[in-house]
């Protein structure tokens, strides 16, 4: 495949590997980064190079999203791999990890293979499957982790369902670790969270919603951390969401346990009050927490305690959302709003831009062993070019995802993707200003 070389000049480069945030230029050839310069202009370019003047726009590695649900296979009207890939490209996301709680569940190497073949045919962004940790995500028997890993799954998880049986969790961690497979787990006590659709507190109490205390997350996280200590295995804590579990995480990291944690952009942006008058687009798993928890989470991203930011993209069609709050399907789409929401955290002065980019590119790349996420010579040319200041009113109806359940609908954000490249190919180009 020959693609015309592209040179970006006058860009604001952010390289999460070196921490560089400043002017620069970049040449892409043969699908990889051929040259990265801290000078805004390049000399001696050959004639066949397409030159793009970034005019000060942000040029950084494309985002890598470790937590994306689609409806394929099984619920294609929600979202297909293709529609998710198109949404990702439009959002500057160049790699997505699709979650295994599909129908059938990705708990078999054949389904891993199916996803990878479909992704190859779509030829947009990189699509990597996560495998189920246990068969059917039921939390009982272990799934074929080794075979799925050979087939190409990048980590294992039971997605939203906590693995309740501590013995299963212990064996899973030990077994997966021996094979070099990362285990992700969302910590939630199944009894304290049973039937809950909001976080316990004054607001949920007034709304009359069944609610769960934050302790449900802390309790399960403490168990998981104890099992990490017991087994020595790596663990990816999926969507940590509140101040108390962050303290547990901090202690574990201080002791040197091999733990990584993700936070969803939703929990970094919204709090429990966004539920408002029973807005089901803000019904999430874990439920939105209070403002103090949100601020603690942002602080943890800034300090590096939380390693990775995910979109937690979870498409749900209108008929699953236009229901009373306790009956509605939880989750919100997020691929197309991830970048502007990250940039909004930067514009609010809460987290430095380079740190945010790091948490959405290099950190997830390292977690699952990808070569992407850096601007080094020879690295894959998975890039995004964005105007970080462009004001934007999010209108869910204009989003590409097949489902329109965006928690950001009606929100004003800043930042617009101008161009997305995957392996040096332009997979998205924003409308001309």
């Amino acid at each position: 495949m020959t693609v015309q070389p592209i040179a970006f000049i006058n860009a604001r480069l952010v390289d999460p590997e070196t921490g560089y945030d400043g002017p620069g230029a970049l040449i892409v050839t043969e699908g990889v980064i051929a040259e990265a310069s801290r000078e805004p202009r390049l000399t001696a370019l050959s004639d066949d190079v397409k030159i793009i003047d970034a005019a000060g726009a942000l040029l950084c590695p494309g985002l890598i999203d470790l937590r994306v649900k689609t409806g394929e296979p099984g619920s294609e009207p929600k979202e297909t791999l293709k529609s998710a890939a198109r949404a990702a490209a439009a959002g500057g996301v160049t790699s997505i990890v699709v979650q295994p709680d599909t129908d059938p569940v990705i708990d078999d190497p054949a389904v891993v293979d199916f996803i990878l073949r479909r992704a190859r045919d779509i030829e947009l962004v990189h699509v990597y499957p996560a495998g189920a940790a246990t068969k059917g995500c039921r939390g009982e028997g272990m799934a074929e982790i080794g075979l799925m890993h050979e087939a190409g799954c990048v980590y294992v998880t039971d997605v939203d369902r906590p693995i309740v049986d501590s013995r299963v969790m212990r064996r899973l961690l030990a077994y997966a670790n021996a094979l070099g497979v990362l285990v992700a787990h969302r910590p939630a006590d199944p009894w304290l969270t049973r039937g809950a659709s909001a976080t316990e507190g004054e607001f949920a109490g007034r709304l009359g919603l069944a609610s769960e205390p934050v302790a449900a997350e802390t309790i399960m996280l403490e168990r998981d951390l104890a099992l990490v200590e017991l087994t020595g295995a790596r663990l990816l804590v999926d969507q940590i969401s509140a101040a108390a579990p962050l303290e547990s995480l901090s202690r574990a990291k201080a002791r040197g346990l091999p733990v990584l944690a993700t936070a969803s952009i939703n929990h970094l942006t919204f709090n429990e009050l966004d539920i408002g008058d029973y807005r089901t687009f803000c019904k999430l798993v874990p439920p939105l927490r209070c403002e103090d928890d949100r601020l603690a989470l942002i602080e943890a991203v800034a300090s590096g305690l939380v390693d990775i930011i995910v979109s937690a993209h979870a498409p749900a069609p209108a008929e699953d959302k236009r229901l009373p709050f306790d009956e509605a399907t939880p989750g919100a789409i997020g691929l197309e709003t991830l970048l502007p929401a990250l940039l909004t955290l930067h514009h609010e002065g809460r987290v430095p831009l380079a740190r945010l980019i790091h948490a959405a590119t290099l950190a997830p790349a390292k977690a699952i062993g990808l070569a992407a996420g850096r601007l080094a010579v020879g690295a894959p040319a998975d890039l995004l070019l964005a105007d970080i200041n462009a004001p934007r009113l999010i209108d869910a109806e204009t989003l590409i995802s097949k489902s329109k359940n965006s928690a950001f609908d009606g929100r004003r954000l800043q930042g617009r993707v101008l161009m997305t490249l995957v392996d040096g190919r332009v997979v998205y180009e924003g409308p001309a200003q």
Partner: protein
């Protein structure tokens, strides 16, 4: 053939504009609106005690009672209120068996809306259901109970009962006792009674209290004796018997011993104390029959009577707004 009784001008044209198209939550009300609703309800109480009780304020209007949860008391109260005001009343109790409950709610709302009703009275087991439904229909929606959220007509009838018994609501000390956590009656009453200036206490075991309930602007007590000490009004809540299963309370007899109302405990309240209960009662669980049936103390039968009048006031006010459109 029914002959409408001559109604006073106050009844014919409620003298104030209702601020909202729907009656969903006490949070939408203000003291002036509540005062006007109570004044109107007072007139309906007088009317309801006459031999001929029928008015034509809702003549030609269609009222649909849409009860997803079984109810005898509230449904018949709304039905009588509608009929006494001259509306055509249809009762519907969709069963949730054939299709999922959510589909039933929206599908039913759209279907009923196409039949051009004027007022939809809805009860549903999910918090926020009445609000959701109000966004999908073009008629007025009255919340007759949504999950554990609100039961605003109950709060209005309780305020009416109190105002008639004490001459005022402001300044009264009202102890709401029992399962506050699961009670929409408690939520609506806390909202409305505090709005009207009453001092509200909530009393019950911590397992039956919502988180951060102290921030609702109420006093919180876990001991019934201190909770009702000096109270002018003791409002007992119904304890669903399935609460025994979820480790919320150990047994009925322990609950009655610690949080049930009997004569002995009631003696701690203020002289002239009145006892309320939204019904239906679990005698011997949250309240002793001896107290419940004592007409000198209990307002429970008054509450039922006031229920019809309060709901007539709500319906008449919403209808007056429709007439002005």
């Amino acid at each position: 053939m029914t002959i409408a009784v001559p109604a006073s001008d106050a009844l014919r044209k409620p003298a104030f504009p209702f601020p909202a198209r729907h009656f969903l939550s006490v949070a939408d009300l203000d003291p002036v609106t509540v005062g006007a609703l109570l004044d109107l309800a007072d007139e309906f109480v007088a009317l309801n005690r006459q031999k001929s009780k029928k008015l034509d304020l809702l003549k030609g209007r269609t009222l649909i009672n849409l009860f997803f949860e079984a109810s005898t008391r509230t449904q018949s109260s709304f039905e009588l209120a509608g009929k006494r005001l001259g509306a055509d009343v249809v009762n519907m109790s969709p069963r949730a068996s054939s299709i999922s409950k959510g589909e039933t709610l929206i599908d039913t709302a759209v279907t009923l809306n196409a039949m051009q009703p004027d007022i939809l009275v809805v009860r549903h087991g999910s918090s926020g259901a009445a609000s959701l439904l109000s966004q999908k229909v073009s008629c007025s929606v009255v919340n007759a109970g949504d999950g554990q959220h609100e039961h605003p007509s109950q709060a209005l009838l309780d305020a009416l009962s109190l105002r008639r018994a004490f001459g005022r609501v402001g300044g009264l000390t009202v102890a709401i006792c029992g399962d506050v956590l699961h009670s929409r009656v408690a939520r609506s009453n806390v909202g409305l009674l505090t709005l009207l200036g009453a001092n509200v206490r909530v009393v019950g075991p911590p397992t039956l209290m919502p988180a951060d309930v102290a921030r609702w602007g109420v006093e919180v007590h876990h001991d019934l004796k201190t909770g009702i000490a000096g109270a002018d009004v003791v409002m007992m809540l119904r304890l669903q018997l399935e609460r025994m299963q979820g480790a919320l309370v150990p047994s009925m007899r322990e609950y009655f011993r610690l949080w049930g109302l009997d004569r002995e405990k009631l003696a701690l309240a203020a002289p002239g104390v009145r006892v309320m209960h939204p019904g239906p009662m679990n005698r011997g669980v949250e309240i002793d029959s001896d107290v419940a049936d004592d007409a000198g103390v209990s307002l429970i039968q008054d509450q039922v009577e006031m229920g019809v009048a309060a709901r007539m006031a709500i319906l008449a006010t919403l209808a007056a707004r429709l007439d002005n459109q």
